[in-house]
């Protein structure tokens, strides 16, 4: 898809570019995207699932397309230019998916669907294109089919995932090959082979860093360290078709970092809770009770979300992960309330101020 095919998207993306330019290349408080989990059911049982879908959590809740239509209007008003429909597996109920896409009015957004590709064929890919989907993202874990299938918990999932990217490309949709990268695999041969495959097929590679959330809750050893982070930038420069959400897409040198996207990209659960991002399970509002504007404002009240971080808080900042993501039982359906964190922050500032005043006096 070319940006100029969707004038509203072009305009909003240009506003985003201008904001970033004026803000020294940083994302600041600019809203950019919505990641929405419309339903948490999935046909695969991925080891690292951040939504706990393999545990069967809240798999019967489907978000009403009328509610999604209202949220899309609010998002458009806020200047949000990209939407990622995800799950669970969004292609489980295709009729529902078409209704959701119609409700969003996709001509206003760079629209993408994140899927495991298992139920994607040429007909479905063509229909996604007809419904205004610009990009389809499919995760691949290895070029070894057995390794991928074992990780995903189902045979043939590797073969179907790779094939689905071909269907997507044939349909004129941007094919994105997603790779989850952690300390355990960042510099591995597996990742190199995947990067080569993606480049050779003219796909875009999206790197998602592994996070200690959901099924991998508390596993901070999986997080990328500084060496891994530097290595990924090297790969970015080498291949030139690699993206991360926190990298600056306008930097032709492929070096600059926009900053962690918490709150800039809002994550909505099937219950309507809005989290700071898909991997940081801190609730900043609920779409049934608050407007997106109010929710964003609330999210940025917490300094960790407001201040620039060159590291992904969930996948690279071990201090953040240990302090805010390791509370037992936390999930996308049982998130920490940001108000608690804001209150803690205020009281700690008050104590610091009191102590420094006492010291001075």
């Amino acid at each position: 898809m070319a940006l100029i095919d969707k004038p509203e998207v072009f305009r909003k993306f240009k506003d985003f570019f201008n904001y970033v330019q004026k803000n020294n290349g940083r994302i600041g408080l600019k809203q950019r995207g919505i990641d929405i989990n419309v339903n948490n059911a999935c046909n695969l049982r991925c080891e690292h699932c951040f939504t706990n879908s393999p545990k069967g959590e809240f798999i019967k809740e489907w978000m009403d397309p009328k509610v999604i239509a209202r949220i899309a209007d609010e998002a458009h008003e806020l200047g949000i230019f990209e939407w990622d429909l995800q799950g669970g597996e969004p292609l489980l109920r295709k009729k529902y998916l078409w209704d959701v896409l119609k409700a969003i009015r996709t001509e206003r957004f760079y629209m993408y669907v994140t899927t495991n590709g298992y139920y994607l064929n040429q007909e479905t890919a063509n229909k996604l294109a007809d419904h205004g989907v610009d990009r389809v993202s499919v995760s691949i874990d290895s070029m070894d089919p057995e390794k991928h299938d074992n990780f995903r918990g189902r045979k043939s999932s590797w073969e179907r995932a790779l094939k689905s990217l071909e269907y997507v490309q044939n349909a004129g949709i941007d094919p994105f090959l997603n790779i989850t990268v952690g300390h355990y695999n960042a510099k591995s041969e597996d990742i190199k082979l995947l990067l080569e495959y993606s480049k050779d097929h003219k796909y875009t590679t999206l790197l998602n860093v592994a996070t200690p959330a959901g099924m991998w809750s508390n596993l901070t050893d999986i997080m990328c360290d500084d060496d891994d982070r530097a290595y990924l930038i090297e790969m970015r420069k080498k291949y030139k078709n690699i993206l991360r959400n926190l990298w600056n897409p306008f930097d032709r040198k492929n070096e600059a970092v926009l900053g962690c996207n918490t709150v800039n990209r809002l994550y909505i659960t099937p219950l309507g809770d809005v989290l700071a991002c898909p991997y940081v399970h801190i609730k900043i509002g609920n779409i049934h009770k608050n407007s997106l504007h109010e929710i964003s404002k609330k999210g940025f009240e917490f300094s960790k979300f407001r201040n620039y971080s060159e590291k992904c808080l969930a996948g690279e900042d071990t201090h953040f992960a240990k302090k805010y993501m390791s509370i037992p039982g936390t999930s996308i359906f049982n998130p920490v309330d940001v108000n608690t964190l804001i209150a803690q922050e205020s009281s700690s500032i008050a104590i610091d101020t009191h102590l420094s005043t006492e010291t001075i006096s």
Partner: protein, 73 residues
């Protein structure tokens, strides 16, 4: 105006100033849709204008860009 546009094209599309008249939309790696948006933004900022979407779509080389910008000055 032409010289300013040439500088913008050379800078955004990462080509030599003597090459800017020979390139077209999607003929070089840097002139993809993001590059197009960046070029439009730079042009708007340089000349303090706001280019309508109908004109944004028309521009696919330097000559067309000069024609479009001329309308707004």
């Amino acid at each position: 105006m032409e010289n300013e546009l040439k500088k913008i094209f050379a800078n955004v599309f990462e080509v030599g100033i003597d090459e800017v008249e020979n390139i077209e939309y999607q003929s070089v790696e840097a002139w993809d849709s993001i590059g197009h948006m960046m070029m439009i933004s730079e042009v708007e900022s340089e000349f303090n204008i706001s280019i309508e979407m109908d004109d944004v779509i028309v521009i696919s080389n330097l000559k067309e860009c000069i024609e479009v910008v001329s309308k707004y000055l």
